[in-house]
């Protein structure tokens, strides 16, 4: 009986279709079957986002492939085709070394941040203690300041300009200029509040029961953090990690001023990109090429890494 009804509905529908245009037909179908509407909305959204996010990259590619001299009155297609730019960019600047530096800086910072922020996130997300709100706000307040506000004292500290008085002895701080330390440390401090807040929300949402179970099984609270809470917050942890890593990868202020800009002095990718730039002349094509090389692999790597981190965390990377 039910099938009869449907049959009937289907028939009328077919009759009507003949007179309708394709759009109307589609609309009709959509009204009948809202799933279809969701599906199409979903595709429209996906395509929209793909176009809007990728278009500037296409534009970057157009710039890269167009010989620098011809970059003017650009249309949607490259003027000329100069794939050699991807070779030239490495000849002009040892870009891979800068990428490597960025990588090391990013990775080190990310590890430090995730470690410390995990502890802090655990504390803020799962423990109740006096001073909690105040400390959270205080940590947050660090993010209010523009990086320039930290710079001068830090520069002195890291270039040996600050004297530490330890009782009778006065030691001047070590000269860390041109080493990763004066970048990694400020990055860690400046990007940590974000991770702390992210992890706080994620850790706070893990049911107490699971932590309890782990503790009764014989972990310490910290053990439970690393074996249960962090793995279960894997998407959040991975995201905090990715955000931190990429922030470091892109950071400009400290990356630029805490070294002399040489690849051998741990200068990161931003310095590398700027290296292409002359005082007046700007080889847009080289910079575009360098950006593509600098960004695309990293983005892909980061996504792959994120997936691996998530699956690694959740599927027992912590297994002995």
């Amino acid at each position: 009986m039910a099938t009869d009804n449907q049959q009937g509905a289907f028939e009328t529908n077919r009759d009507a279709e003949i007179k309708r245009g394709p759009l109307e037909t589609w609309v009709g179908k959509v009204i009948k079957n809202p799933k279809r509407a969701y599906r199409s909305m979903f595709y429209v959204a996906t395509v929209f986002f793909l176009v809007t996010t990728l278009f500037p990259f296409y534009w970057l590619l157009v710039l890269a492939l167009t010989p620098n001299n011809l970059i003017s009155n650009m249309g949607l297609l490259p003027k000329g085709f100069n794939p050699g730019v991807f070779v030239t960019m490495f000849e002009r600047v040892p870009f891979h070394l800068y990428m490597f530096n960025s990588f090391v800086l990013g990775l080190t910072t990310t590890v430090i941040v995730l470690l410390l922020a995990s502890l802090a996130g655990y504390v803020f997300g799962r423990l109740r203690f006096p001073g909690r709100t105040f400390l959270m706000l205080a940590i947050l307040a660090i993010s209010y300041f523009p990086p320039a506000a930290f710079f001068l004292p830090l520069f002195q500290l890291f270039t040996g300009g600050t004297n530490l008085v330890l009782g009778p002895i006065t030691v001047s701080s070590p000269d860390l200029f041109n080493t990763p330390a004066p970048m990694v440390l400020p990055f860690s401090a400046l990007f940590m509040p974000l991770s702390i807040f992210i992890l706080t929300t994620f850790y706070g949402q893990i049911p107490d029961g699971l932590e309890d179970a782990a503790r009764v099984e014989g972990t310490t609270r910290l053990g439970a953090l690393f074996r249960v809470i962090i793995p279960l917050s894997a998407p959040g942890v991975a995201t905090a990690g990715v955000l931190t890593f990429i922030s470091v990868y892109n950071e400009f202020f400290f990356s630029f001023l805490m070294n002399n800009g040489e690849a051998s002095s741990w200068a990161p990718i931003v310095a590398g990109i700027l290296k292409y730039q002359g005082q007046f002349d700007t080889p847009y094509n080289l910079m575009a090429a360098a950006s593509i090389v600098g960004v695309l692999p990293v983005a892909i790597l980061v996504i792959v890494a994120q997936e691996r981190i998530v699956s690694g965390l959740t599927a027992g990377a912590l297994k002995e």
Binding site: N69, L70, I71, S72, N73, R92, V93, L152, P153, F155, Q156, T159, G160, G161, T162, N163, L164, V165, T170, F177, F256, L257, N260, G261, E262, S265, A271, L274, K275, Y276, Q277, G278, Q279, F280, D281, T282, Y284
Partner: protein, 476 residues
């Protein structure tokens, strides 16, 4: 942890006044030593060639090696880096390549070595007597002492398309004349308009830079203004580099206003309410208001413009065989009034804003390094070395005389235009660099751009600017 620096006395770490003035042992260094130079990527790209020049043409001893760290080419960033390095008393690098546009603030802060005290007199006097005067001025302190050796000056010129002008009826004889005898803005605008009419498929007439940036205040506007006999602070000979607060502010004078009106005519045509009489209008696109060097060069290089003001680097690009080759013409910047008619000395005529870089010395460097640094400076100053560097890195020789040399004119592309450069160099006008220039510069750029964009009348913009500049002057 406590810091002896306490509440913010903020004395830049180890830097001390004394270091900048002591004489340096100028004798030979005997041991192997490496001198680190904070240069740019062009230098570091050419480091092998530079070493050869230093040892072969410059006669540098073999035990001294130079090493270049390539600071950012973006001049602001470089300045910033140097401020931190020198401010905190770092020992490296020994030598620093400094923009002539901001060497003076370092001098004012006692952050670089006083070369008049430290170098042998012969070196100092060579610089003072034989180098482009404008360049030398930007490397001197208030007391007239020398703090940097000009390595290469930079002067903008007017580039043009001979092929397009030929269509408008001009020929080689005109081009030859213009190469050394610049034309007036009136004529320039007329010629440009004619060429535009003769080449209707060419999009633009004259392209230059008028974005809100340092390049407008230091250079483009400075040139327009100076070529009309205007000046920022009255007589440039006396007041260009100070004394801050004790000099007139003259941006509201008629020549300055006229220069603004002229540019408005270029952009908006002769029916702009603030058009300048005698100037042919509508030769420059509105886009110049947003253009800096490269965006303004792109259309020219791309064949879409007839006239283009830019620095020598672009001559090399535009004069290359696969671009315009011999069809690229170069002349000094046109003038508004002749030097005689101009109110102040150093103004009027085919003025060119001064760019270029000096080599300065880090006073905190160990004395052995300073000693070797002096040897490097001496080697760089050798005429043969300067000429070789012109060929290698395109560094325009800092002594006018060298531009006349055979070697100079043999340099690829730019060698064809040494005479124009020499004229420009002799008429160069530095920006009024002082410690407050950075503040003044951004205000100037803002007001001038607003006036060009018809958002303010020239008079209003300049009187606003005057009062702001006054405040800045007074703040010191």
């Amino acid at each position: 942890i406590s810091s002896t620096n306490g509440g913010g006395e903020g004395n830049g770490g180890g830097s001390t006044d004394s270091g900048t003035e002591t004489a340096i042992d100028t004798g030979e260094v005997t041991e192997d030593i490496t001198v680190q130079i904070a240069g740019d990527s062009r230098m570091s790209d050419n480091i092998q060639g530079i070493r050869e020049i230093l040892h072969n043409q410059g006669g540098l001893a073999d035990n001294i090696t130079v090493e270049v760290i390539a600071g950012s080419q973006v001049t602001n960033n470089r300045q910033n880096q140097y401020q931190q390095w020198l401010g905190s008393g770092r020992e490296e690098p020994t030598l620093l390549l400094m923009d002539s546009g901001w060497t003076i603030p370092f001098i004012a802060r006692n952050q670089i070595q006083n070369l008049s005290e430290a170098l042998p007199d012969d070196m100092v006097s060579t610089v003072e007597n034989e180098y482009f005067q404008a360049s030398v001025n930007t490397a001197q302190g208030e007391n007239g002492d020398l703090y940097g050796i000009p390595m290469f000056p930079d002067f903008p010129t007017m580039q043009y398309r001979k092929d397009l002008l030929r269509n408008a009826g001009y020929g080689d004889s005109d081009f030859e004349k213009w190469a050394t005898e610049s034309m007036s803005w009136k004529q320039f605008s007329k010629v440009t308009k004619e060429a535009m009419n003769a080449n209707s498929d060419t999009q633009y007439g004259y392209t230059f830079q008028a974005s809100v940036y340092e390049g407008l205040s230091c250079c483009d506007f400075n040139e327009f203004m100076t070529s009309y006999g205007g000046a920022y602070f009255g007589n440039p000979e006396e007041n260009l580099f100070g004394p801050i607060g004790d000099r007139p502010i003259t941006v509201d004078e008629q020549p300055v206003i006229d220069s603004i009106k002229m540019v408005r005519t270029f952009i908006n045509g002769e029916d702009d309410k603030q058009a300048l009489d005698g100037i042919t209008g509508g030769i420059a696109p509105e886009a110049v208001l947003q253009w800096t060097e490269e965006p303004s060069r792109k259309p020219f290089t791309g064949g879409d413009a007839i006239m283009h003001r830019n620095w020598p680097y672009s001559i090399t690009i535009n004069g290359a065989e696969d671009v315009f080759g011999e069809d690229l013409g170069v002349m000094p910047i046109p003038y508004g009034v002749s030097a005689d008619e101009a109110q102040y000395p150093m103004t009027g005529g085919p003025v060119a804003a001064l760019g270029g870089w000096h080599m300065a010395m880090n006073p905190n460097a160990p004395s052995k390094k300073k000693q070797a640094g002096v040897q490097v400076l001496r080697a760089l100053m050798q005429p043969d070395a300067a000429l070789a560097n012109f060929g290698l890195q395109g560094w325009i020789p800092p002594r006018p005389s060298l531009l006349d040399s055979k070697e100079a004119s043999n340099v690829d592309v730019i060698g064809r235009y040494t005479q124009q450069l020499k004229v420009a160099g002799e008429n160069a006008i530095p920006r009024p660099v002082t410690v407050v220039w950075p503040q003044q510069s951004s205000q100037i750029a803002t007001e001038v751009n607003a006036a060009y964009a018809q958002e303010k009348t020239p008079q209003k913009a300049m009187s606003d600017l005057k009062s702001t500049l006054q405040q800045i002057e007074n703040s010191q």
